[in-house]
Amino acid sequence: MANDKQIENQRELNALQRLTMSMTGDMSSMMDDIIASSDKRNKALKEDATLTKQILADLKETGDVNKTIAQIGTQIGQSKNKEYGVNQNTAALYQAQLIAIKGITTGQKEAAKAAQGVFDVTDEVASNFRKGVDGIDEFTKKIPLIGPALSNAFSPLKEKLNKGIDRASDGMKNGFIRQFTKAKKAGDGFATSFSKGIKGGFSGASKALSGTLGISTALASTLLIAVGVGVLLYKAFEIGLKRFKELDAAAKEFRNTTGLLTSQTGNLNKNIENISMEMAGLGVSASDVAGAAAAFSNEMKGTSMASKGVLTSMVAMEKSFGVSAATQAKVNNTFQLMSGAGAKTAQQMIQTTIAAAELAGVAPAAVMQDMAESAEVGLMHFRGSTKALAFAAIEARKMGTTIGETAKVSEGLLDFESSITKELELGAMLGTRVNFNKARALAFEGKTVEAQKAVNAEVGKLGDINKMNMYQKQALMDATNMDLKSLVKQQSIAKKFKGIDGDRLAAANSLLDTGMSIENITDKQLAKEAKRLGQQKSMQSESDKLSDSMGMLGKGISDMFAPLATLLMPIFNDIVDIINAQLMPVFSILGTMFRVTFGILGAILKPVFAVLKAFSTAMMQPITRIAEAIRPIGEKFEEMAPRIIKAIQPVISVISFIGNLIGDIVGTVIGGLVDGFIFAFDVIFGIFESFYGFIQDYIISPIRSMLDLVQKGIDALASLNPFGSSDDELASDANQLQSGGSIDDGIVQDGKIISTHPEDTLIATKTPESLFGESMFGKIMSASPLGMAANSINESTGGGVSNVVGGIGEMIGGLFGGDSGDSQIGAKLDELIIVMKANKDFYIDGKKVTASVSSTVDKIGSNSYAIV
C-alpha cells in the first residue's frame, strides 16, 4: 500500500507524464491522418495505424509505458516485412511515426526512473536531517547542568526545523520536475534537462525554506559562547573519564586474573598508564599491558611481578612480532631457571631470540612457542645454555621440527639396546646398512638438533620414504623414534632447501652470541631496546612486503631498489622520532600539571565538601521541621493555584515568546557549527585524497607495473628451465602421505591396500624354517637377521630366542656335515659367546655387526648391550 510520501511523489511525477501524454496525443492525431489518407485498395496500413491508435489510447488510460514500448516494438518489426502496396509511401511516414512513439515512451520510462531516483535521494536526505535534529536534541539533553534547559529551549526550533526540512524536500522535488519538464519541452537533451532540473530543485528548496526561521543575532552570539564552553567542558570531562575507566578496567582485569589485591599490585596502575601511552604507536592498550602483567605474575606463581621494562618489552614483542605475553612469560621463567639470571636479563634474551629468529627467516612466534612448550627439555639437555636452547629452537624450526621432537629422537637413540635392535631390523628390511652411531654420539653429548640432523642424513641415504612399503616405514619410525609425517616433511625440506640458509643461520647465531651475553641490563635499557625493536618491526612490515616481492624477482632488482629503501626508511624513522620528541614532553608536562592542579583542588575540595555535608546534615533537621510547619500554607496555595495561573496568563505568554526566541538562536548556531565541521572535513579529506592519489599514481603504480613486467620475464625464463618442478614433487609426496601409503603395484580390495606386490611381499613368522622346509636354506633363513627379526616378535614368550639359537645350532651342524647333538651345539654357542665378549668381529650375511655395536658399547664403559 502506498504511503503519503509515495502518493506525493507520484503526483510530482505526473507532471512529467503529462508531457509524454501530450506528445502521444499528437501522435494519435497523426494516426488519424494516416488512416484517412490510406488507399482502400490495401487495408494493411489502415489496420496497422488503427492498432497503433488503440495502443496509444491504452497508454493514456493505464500509463503503462513498458507495455506500450513492447507493443510498438512488435509493430515496428512486423511492419518492416509487410506489403503495403499502393500505400508504400505513406507507410514510410507511418513507420517513422512508430519509431518516434518508441523514442518518446522509452525516454519517458528512463526519465521517470531518473526522477524517482532524485525523489528517493531527497527523501533520504530529509530523513537523515530529521535524525540529525533529533540527535542534536539528545546531545543537548546530555550536557551536564544546563542540558535539560537547553533542550527545552531547542524544542520550538526543532519543530520549525522539521517543518523546514519537509518544505525543502517538497521544494526540491517540485522545482526539479518543473525545470526538467520545461527544458525537455524546449528541446534540450535529457542530460541538459536533468542538470537544469537539479538547479531548479535547489532553487525550489531554498525558496521553500525562506522565512521558516527567525533569528536574533545578538542573543545568538551570547548563547554561542555559553553552549561552546559547555560542550568543551563536557567533552574534556568525557575524554578524561573514558581514559580513567580504561585504566581502571585494566587494573581490575589484572586483579581478577592473578587474585592479587590492590594493595599488592604496587606501581602496576602507573605502569599500565605510562606503558599504554608510550607504546600507543604500536597499538598497545591498557588492557594489553594488564594482560601481560597478569601472564607474567601467574607464570611466576605470584612470587614476583614484571617491572616496567619487562612489561614494555612484553607488549612490544607481542604487538610487533606476534609472540603472546603468556609464551614470553613461560620462556622468561625457563631462561631464569636455566641461567640463574633475573627477569630483566631473561627478557633481554627473549628479545635477542626473537630478533635472531627473524634474521634466520623463521617465525619468531613459532620458535618462542616451541621453547615455551619445551621447558623440561631445555633444562634436561642444554646444560644451562640459554643460547644453545634458543639456537636449537631456531634451527629445529628451520628443519621443520621442534626441540621437543628432536629431544624425543635423542632419547630414543640413547635407549641403546632397543635403538640398536631397531636399527638392525631396519637395515635388514631395507637390505642395506643403517648406522645411527654418529647421531647416538651427538645425542649423548646433549646436541639434540645435531643428532636429529645426523639421523636425517642417514635417513636421506635410504631414498624416498614414500616408496618404502608399510613394514619398512614402520621399522623406520621405530628406529628413529619419529612419526612418518615428520620423517617425510623433514626429508622434503632438506631436499628443497639444502644449504641455502647457512648464511642466515650463521648471522642469527652471531646475534645470539652477542645478545645472550648481556648481563645486569637495567629496566630503562630493556625498555629502550624493546621500543627500538618494536618500531623497527613496524617499519619493517612495509619493507618486508617489498623484500618478499623482490625475492621472486631476483637479487639484481633487489639491489636496484635498496638505495630507495635506504633513503626512505631513515626519513620515516626521523619523522616518527621528531613527532615523539615534540609531543611526548608536552603531554607529559600537561599530565603533570593536571595531576598537580587536580591534586591541590582535590585536597581543598574534599574538606570543604566534608564540612558542607556535615553542615547540611545539621541544617536538614530544622528545615524538615519548618517544612512540616508550613505545609498547611502550601496546601492553601495549592487551592489558590488555578486562580493565580489565570491571573498571570499574560506573563506566561511573554515567557513563552522569549523561550521560542532562544530556541531559534541555539538551533541556528548549532547549524552553523555543523556546516563549519562539514567544510573542515571536506578540506581535510580533500588533502588526504590528493596525497593518496599522488602516491598511488607516481610511486606505487609505476613500481607495480615494473615488478609485474619483470615477474613475467622471470616466469618466462623459469618455464624454459628443464630441471624445475621441485614444488610439484613435494606436493605429490604430500598427497601420497595423506593417502596413507598408496602403492603402484599392490593388491587392493574394497579400496584398501591388503598387500604389496607378491614379488615384494615380506613374510613374518615365528617358524621361518617351516616356509622352506627342513632344507639347508630353511635353516639359513631362520638364522638370518630376517628370521631373527621375525622371531623377535615373539620374544616375550621366550620362544623366539630358542628358535634363533636352534636355528644357528642346526645351521652350524648342517654346514659341517656332522650329525650333532645338543651338547655339541651348546659348545659351539659357548665358543660364539667367547668370541663376542672378546670384541672379535661377527658377521651376518657377510656384514660386520659386532664391531659397530662394540664401539658404541665401549663409549659407555661396558659391554652389557651385546647381542648375546
Binding site: 517513422a96 528541446g187 545568538a220 551570547t222 541556528t668
Partner: protein, 88 residues
Amino acid sequence: MKITKKEATLFKESHSRYLSESKFLAKLFTRAVKKGIDKNPNITNAIQRADSAIDNARADIEKKLNGDRDKIKKAIPLSVRKYLGFDY
C-alpha cells in the same frame, strides 16, 4: 556578556550566510542531495539510456525518410520533433 549594537550588526553581517535560513539550511540540504545524486549510478544510467533512446529514434527516422526534412516534418509533429532533438 553584553554586546553593543555595533557588535551585533557586525556579527550579523559576518555570519549572515549562516543566519539566513534560506541559505543556511538550504545549502546544507542541497549539498547533501547533490552528493546523494552523484553517488547514485541508477540516476546517471537512466539519463544516459534516455538520451541514447531519443538519439537512436532521431537517427532511425532520418534514415527511414532518407533525411528528407519535408517528409519528417509531415510525419512528426513539432512537439515530438523538439522532444527528439530535431532542430527544425
